[in-house]
Symmetry: C2
Subunit: 243 residues, 2 copies
């Protein structure tokens, strides 16, 4: 009987291939099977990051989301579509592992930090060998891009999703020293209003495409009316103790 192959959830970091870990690079260079999420009809950001790093002979498995923003997250149909999708992905990964193949699963950012990989992980970890390779988070790429430290001394840092209700955002924003707000895109006006309500708007920065070509760092107040990607990040730096 063949041994099960290992399923590697490999974090790719914020986008610059030079900021991947040595372990990720080695796993990519030796990969025989590579799986990655993408929006249907798109090349996929994870796959783009590893361009030129995979062996030519590697078998590629594109896992295409059945839905991204066409159905509201609150709609039960959204959960249903995604559950079915994850189940299908997991079935494919299981059969590759059962046939003895190792599979490298590409993960943007850090796999255990707001990632899609976790939905595969929880379905696979009990029955198949899974290894997770952490990576630099997108937010770390973003605060490095601003050229200013995000937290000092005893600063409290709160990470918020722009998808949260405005009042929830404002309440947390008022109570934290440093802030990271992710999933911006069409939530940008709500995020701006919440920051203003919390008295933090003037300190906020918008970072687009951190560490990638097209990186842009602007003060949020100077980005009025701007159309920004979903994966943009808004930051407010802490100001803690500094000898």
């Amino acid at each position: 009987m063949k041994c099960q192959g290992t399923l590697y959830g490999v974090g790719l970091g914020p986008g610059d291939a030079d900021l991947m870990t040595v372990r990720a690079h080695r796993l990519l260079a030796g990969a025989t099977h590579v799986a990655f999420f993408r929006k249907a009809g798109r090349p996929g950001q994870a796959r783009r990051i590893v361009e030129g790093l995979l062996p030519c002979a590697a078998v590629e498995l594109a896992m295409e989301y059945p839905v991204t923003t066409e159905i509201a997250v609150e709609d039960p149909a959204y959960n249903e579509a995604l559950s079915g999708f994850y189940a299908a992905c997991v079935a494919q990964l299981r059969s590759l592992s059962d046939a003895g193949h190792d599979v490298v699963i590409l993960c943007e950012g850090d796999p255990f930090f707001y990632g899609s990989f976790m939905h595969l992980y929880t379905r696979l970890a009990a029955t198949h060998p899974v290894q997770v390779v952490p990576a630099i988070t997108g937010m770390s790429g973003a605060w490095t891009a601003t050229g200013r430290p995000i937290t000092w001394g005893d600063d409290v840092l709160t990470v918020l999703m722009g998808t949260l209700p405005e009042a929830t955002l404002a309440r947390h924003m008022a109570q934290s020293d440093a802030l990271v707000i992710m999933k911006i895109g069409r939530n940008i006006d709500k995020v701006r209003r919440a920051l203003a309500a919390a008295g933090r708007l003037q300190e906020a920065w918008l970072v687009e495409f951190a560490t990638m070509p097209g990186q842009k760092v602007v003060r949020l107040v100077e980005a009025e009316g701007r159309v920004t990607p979903y994966f943009s990040i808004v930051l407010v730096h802490g100001n803690g103790r500094r000898p």
Copy 2:
């Protein structure tokens, strides 16, 4: 006139050299001058991580803290001692840069996330070329070590320092889905009491030496009476939306 050398603030990540970035590895392998913080009389954790990765001919500059826990942080003498220390480090780094030398400054974790390097950076960046290489944070190494994702969907994540007052800790702990508490050490009992007050103690994990030899992951309630290092991390995982 010679060009100024570049001062590289190089993040080393959580401790496993295999989890450094490709860029960090390349800078270390080509380093002519390497600077790092350490406690007087100790080899230093940052220097230990890069053991075997530096050229034999690299000139090493150990920057030894004049004080770590001997003086309370609240004592004005603490700030004074550290200010003088950073000024002296900066003077050395400036003269190396002015002589045309590049210097790799080793940073545990991610340089802009609660790091000592920031105190050098703010004093150097206006007059000398400084480049910052981000890295995997210690907390990311810690949540990966638990084998469970830290955040899902719209979870709110709050990062707290164990040095904060107990009531402040408890207030934030009660309002966040996921928690990271750093700087544990002798603060562990205070952190435990604050978690209990916020009703989160049963969910908490203690991670010591994440990604390093000696890594230990235990439920915090099972670590009663445990002496744990300052760089241990306490985690509470989020439980957000999961299709």
